[in-house]
Amino acid sequence: MEQIDNMLARPKRYANIDGLGELTAGIMCLGFAFFQWEQIRSPAGAVWHSMYLFAIYFGALIAALHYGPRAIKSRITYPRTGFVEYRKRGRLWLSVASGALAAAVSVLIWIAVRHHWDMQMGALIFLGIAPAYAYRFAKTARWKWAVAAAIAVSSLAIAFISPDSLVDLTGDARLKPFVRFAGSEMLNLAAVGVLTLISGAISLWLYLRHTQPPVQEAQ
């Protein structure tokens, strides 16, 4: 029975066999971090604070993260180890759960900003990424538990950074309240982004090493 359950779980794990799931998550986090970094170090009237750039930047990022992995999968993964189309049922509860999670995080951020718990609350939110990463990715390979641990440790380490050191990054006094939280978020996003990117790159390298390029014949 356990072997059947294991077989049923294999297609889900196959989604990240090439590390593209982690690479996508890493690029997304670094993309967000880069945007926040530019917002922190730019004066209040700079283009990085305009809604137009926000929409264009994140529109382009989301489009690249949506179509990029698909293109790579169809050129690298599917010809090597096969194509899988996943079932679309049961997405409603996922949307509801994501909405509830986003609402909870927004409330936490609001409380954090009101009480000046910026760094600690940012760390608490990102500490939740470690178990999420472990659930989503670490099941496939033991070494990925080390990445989950590194994510947790980096969030805790960032919690101990003084918010004032981040405020010093900006010369614009009007941005200081924003920087206290955004700076913590940026550091956490950058740490998670770098770690998942490294993990994804190692997974992709191992995948390419252990699979053969396709031969031109019927599959």
Binding site: M7, P11, F83, P214
Partner: protein
């Protein structure tokens, strides 16, 4: 015959064979997958996998769709509704029997 023994006797023999059970379990979790994916996941050779798929197709459990990915022929496989029901029944019967 006690109910447990009857449960074992009534297990679907088409699915019960280990190779076909692997194929059914893999296809149950997805919408569709190609031949190469099943080859990679099950570790069977092409001939064995083909014969198991033919058996499942004859039983009406698997639908086979021949298509192309670019210029390369591709065989897409999916469980039919009958196949899904049969696999669900098989799991339930096995759980009860164990």
């Amino acid at each position: 015959m006690n109910p447990q023994m009857r449960g074992i006797a009534e297990l679907d023999r088409v699915i019960h064979e280990p190779g076909r059970l692997m194929i059914a379990a893999l296809l149950y979790a997805v919408e569709k997958a190609d031949f190469l994916y099943l080859l990679h996941e099950t570790g069977m050779n092409k001939g064995t996998l083909s014969s198991h798929i033919s058996r499942l197709e004859t039983a009406g459990y698997v639908a086979v769709e021949k298509t192309y990915r670019g210029k390369i022929p591709q065989t897409l496989l999916s469980l039919t509704e009958t196949g899904r029901e049969a696999f669900k029944r098989y799991r339930k019967s096995l759980k009860e029997a164990l």
